[in-house]
């Protein structure tokens, strides 16, 4: 089912990432051999010449961010090839015809990056020169001031997410006591994405207004100590087109805020959680939609409409082999990375085993408990719910199932965020969020 080249690439990347663990100033002969192999893979491709030059310069000790960026691009393009295979395999798994890949968006000639981006690129280069296994806390926190400044620019949020996440993960791990158990692959993933993103200021998203009808299908929660993001997934119908779409809401946060209270940082989510809970559609009026299926949510452009049953719509469009074709837009070329693989599916009458593996007919997938343990969709709840909407994901050499919502026989829905909705409906007297926000507004205004 899964192409053998996937695991071969995974193994090669793991070997390649040893360079970042050791540090480019201290490469051993086996690291140089892996870099030579990387060059060999790209021979005769557009990356061939730049890669040869970059490896040569790094060998001579010329540690410029642009040389590291070529390595990042090579690594990302191997993962892009993995993404293409994985997407086909995941679509075959849920018995859906593969969507044709769109032609890559023409990249504008890079404009000079703002100084903040250069600062980030330099920090990333410094991490690679030193090597993750030799970093201390000061190497990591050297970037704190720049990162704080970047948080002030809303356009840089995606880059801030990667940099803050990498910094947070490193600060909790350095000095690295046991390099063998360090999450090096994850670190180099984040390092590569960040370095590629520092090449130029982010382009503004291309959008088209949509007047479709939105049926929300479920929620995904993503978080860092200082940033949270909720993704609402839904099915958008407009004329004959049936599209799988996303609404993303994000907020900066502080580490003292946790649990359901975190939802209070995303006031716009209340309307969406409410609609999902009560099964109400949204009629959109010129809501901006990107070609990747992202709605740029503006609550002024949505009114609640007719009621619907989540599982009825989900089963019609998302059951394996469903008759209604649904368009699941592929990501932009620069986002073709296995971490972004997300193939929606509805499942019925499944079994969930003791080791949290779900079986529905001829589909067997492990539940990704990292995403659901302790939430409204904990496996022990799922065992009592015969209907589910979820996403097929890939990590660690295999496909996983991420549940987004589940329903019992009567259609009562469970989804992540129910706890948050309760707090919106009945706000606690003294929430951590309210106390700190009040403190912030008093102290920071006072200063000005």
């Amino acid at each position: 089912m899964m192409d053998a080249s996937i695991s071969e690439t995974d193994r090669f990347l793991a070997a390649l990432d040893a360079c970042w663990l050791a540090g480019f100033a201290q490469l051993a002969p086996e690291h140089r051999q892996t870099l030579a192999k990387l060059q060999h893979i790209f021979e005769g491709t557009p990356l061939g010449q730049p890669l040869q030059n970059a490896v040569e310069q790094l060998r001579r000790g010329v540690y410029q961010p642009e040389h590291f960026r070529v390595l990042a691009a090579a690594r990302a393009s191997l993962q892009g090839a993995q993404y293409a295979h994985l997407r086909q395999a995941a679509e075959a798994l849920v018995k859906r015809a593969s969507a044709p890949s769109p032609t890559p968006s023409a990249l504008d000639a890079p404009t000079a990056p703002p100084p903040l981006l250069n600062g980030a690129a330099q920090w990333l280069a410094d991490l690679a020169i030193t090597g993750f296994s030799r970093l201390d806390a000061r190497d990591v926190s050297a970037f704190d001031a720049t990162l704080r400044q970047m948080r002030g620019s809303p356009d840089l949020l995606p880059l801030v997410a990667v940099l803050a996440g990498l910094s947070q993960s490193l600060i909790g791990a350095v000095p690295v006591a046991d390099p063998a158990s360090a999450p090096v692959f994850r670190w180099v993933d984040l390092w590569s994405r960040a370095l590629i993103m520092t090449v130029q200021a982010p382009p503004s998203p291309v959008t088209q207004p949509t007047d479709g009808l939105l049926h929300l299908m479920g929620v995904e929660w993503r978080s860092q100590p200082q940033l949270v993001s909720a993704v609402f997934y839904g099915i958008l119908t407009e004329g004959d087109a049936v599209r799988w779409v996303r609404v993303t809401l994000s907020a900066h946060k502080v580490s003292a805020i946790g649990g359901d209270e975190t939802w209070l940082l995303l006031p716009q989510s209340q309307q969406l959680l409410q609609a999902l809970d009560s099964g109400q559609t949204f009629q959109l009026a010129r809501m901006p939609l990107t070609p990747t299926g992202d709605l740029l949510w503006d609550d002024g452009l949505a009114t609640t409409g007719a009621p619907y049953k989540v599982m009825d719509i989900a089963r019609r469009c998302l059951l394996p082999g469903a008759a209604t074709p649904i368009e699941v837009a592929p990501p932009l070329p620069e986002y073709r990375h296995p971490i972004h693989l997300a193939v929606p599916v509805a499942l019925d009458g499944y079994q969930v085993s003791e080791d949290n593996t779900l079986t529905a007919g001829d589909i067997t997938l492990p539940l990704d408990i990292r995403r659901i343990a302790g939430t409204e969709l904990d496996p022990q709840h799922l065992r009592q719910r015969p209907h589910m909407v979820g996403i097929v994901r890939y990590d660690d050499g295999q496909f996983w199932l991420q549940p987004l919502a589940a329903a019992d026989k009567k259609g009562r829905l469970d989804f992540i965020g129910e706890g948050g909705l309760k707090l919106f409906t009945k706000p606690p007297k003294n929430s951590t969020v309210a106390i700190l926000q009040e403190r912030a507004s008093r102290l920071l205004r006072e200063k000005k």
Binding site: R151, R186, R222, A251, I372, N430, A440
Partner: protein, 154 residues
């Protein structure tokens, strides 16, 4: 096979932080440090820290006036700050960060017993980190896609 996601561990913070008393606590630059509200004056805060390795401690107002409660043992602000650090980061992380012997310092009291006299250092840096921390809550929310958050599940 290599994984892009973090090692899974059960979530911390089952207990809610008392941010009214201790709005800010962090493990930073070799110190467990934080800001503690004054019990009597809403305008006043105390800046407290324990230093990793030496277990020296100090507490002063944000204007660098030493805390009146300081002495041979840590003051009330220091104990409140330590207790909230344990709630937020977990006792194991705090003990490891302070470089304490895990078998002796395995509880709140166990850590406090390791405290070894004062060291004086200005409160300004911690206080400005506190303001930067609060600043995070002042930024507007966003509705643009952030695919990068796919790396930060749960």
């Amino acid at each position: 096979m290599p994984s892009s996601l973090p090692h899974w561990q059960p979530k911390l913070m089952v207990e809610q932080r008392n941010v009214k008393t201790v709005p800010f606590v962090e493990l930073h630059d070799g110190r467990v440090q934080g800001v503690v509200s004054s019990g009597s004056d809403i305008e006043r805060v105390y800046v407290s820290y324990f230093e990793a390795g030496t277990m020296h401690y100090y507490c002063s107002t944000n204007n660098n006036r030493p805390c009146g409660g300081l002495g041979n043992i840590p003051c009330k602000h220091l104990t409140q700050m330590l207790s909230e650090a344990i709630t937020e980061y977990g006792i194991d992380t705090v003990v490891r960060f302070l470089k304490l012997p895990p078998d002796e310092a395995n509880s709140f009291m166990g850590i406090l017993k390791q405290a070894k006299g004062m060291s004086k250092s200005p409160a300004g840096e911690v206080f400005s980190r506190f303001l930067a921390y609060l600043q995070l809550l002042e930024y507007p929310t966003s509705s643009q896609p952030v695919a990068e958050m796919d790396w930060f599940v749960g």
